[in-house]
Amino acid sequence: MTIPPLTPLLRVVNYHNTPASRADAYDAEFAALSARYAPVNEAVLAEYLRTGTWPLDRPGVIPSFYNGYRNNHDVARPLLEKHGLTGWFFAVTAYSSCPPEQQVDFGASRTLAIVPGEYEDGRHALSWDELRALDQNHVVASHTRNHTRVALDDPARIEDEIVGAQEDFTRELGHPVRSFAWLFGGRYGENPVADAAVDRAGYHFLFSNFAVQRLPKAAG
């Protein structure tokens, strides 16, 4: 594989489930991060990528939370706010729309891990009310509609996962989201069908395994 350039760089900490049993570790991590780094929201990221100049007096850090787990709201969110950090919550829209009694099965077929016994009511996904609450002071972002592997030569499925997710966010949050992360860390520029869907959905930023890309649609 070609060695990716590692500059200019952004600091990111990737999380998935954040169960209460590990709250002390998250608390210590957020405390240490906030002592050295500034919170980063989409406006900061946009200004940096637009101007090439970091707009804050300290370097920033992006704690990102993938898959839209309820424990991100219940456990991570209050700790982020205690330490003044901005979380980026990459949610799976059909998971949040799924009835609680079906969420374990939904997750099992879509590589969404459940913490056994965590929630007696069976709801493991972020609800839309929780996403609306996160949308006030944090970043809600798209991590597809179903979190399922899609053949990259299947335009209808790609459209559903990328554009369909944006339609869900727009309906439930009252506005489209600006950031997207494809499953398994794919980049913009690797697949023209997926790129076109990302453009149609109107996303401005794409998070992948090695990069954060400001997308052509964000111009102007």
Binding site: P5, T7, P8, L9, Y15, H16, A25, Y188, L215, A219
Partner: protein, 103 residues
């Protein structure tokens, strides 16, 4: 510039293996992402000084790993970035927090 000798590579590969054994679904994983502007509105983003130094170390480490072990996969490269981030985000290894006992 980091001195990349056999002892350094041994320790680096040890950290790569150790980090890979963590319970990823429940822990925070520090990493670096490269910032790219694809809008064409301005020239390529300028490198930042810290990023440049890190990038030089990173490229040298990957080249040394390839001399020792052959071609590195994207997973190997991601793990190498993870080790660098784990060592450089804070004054302590970032992974030390998640290594504590759970409650």
């Amino acid at each position: 510039m980091t001195d990349i000798d056999d002892a350094f590579l041994d320790a680096f590969e040890h950290d790569m293996a150790e980090l890979s054994r963590r319970p990823y679904p429940e822990i925070g994983v520090a990493t670096y992402l490269v910032a790219e502007d694809l809008t064409g509105e301005r020239p390529a983003l300028p490198p930042d000084p810290e990023g440049e130094a890190l990038a030089r170390d990173f490229a040298a480490i990957i080249e040394a790993l390839e001399r020792r072990n052959g071609t590195q996969t994207s997973a190997d490269i991601a793990r190498a970035i993870e080790v660098l981030a784990d060592r450089t985000f804070l004054d302590v290894h970032f992974s030390s927090f998640s290594a504590r006992p759970t409650t």
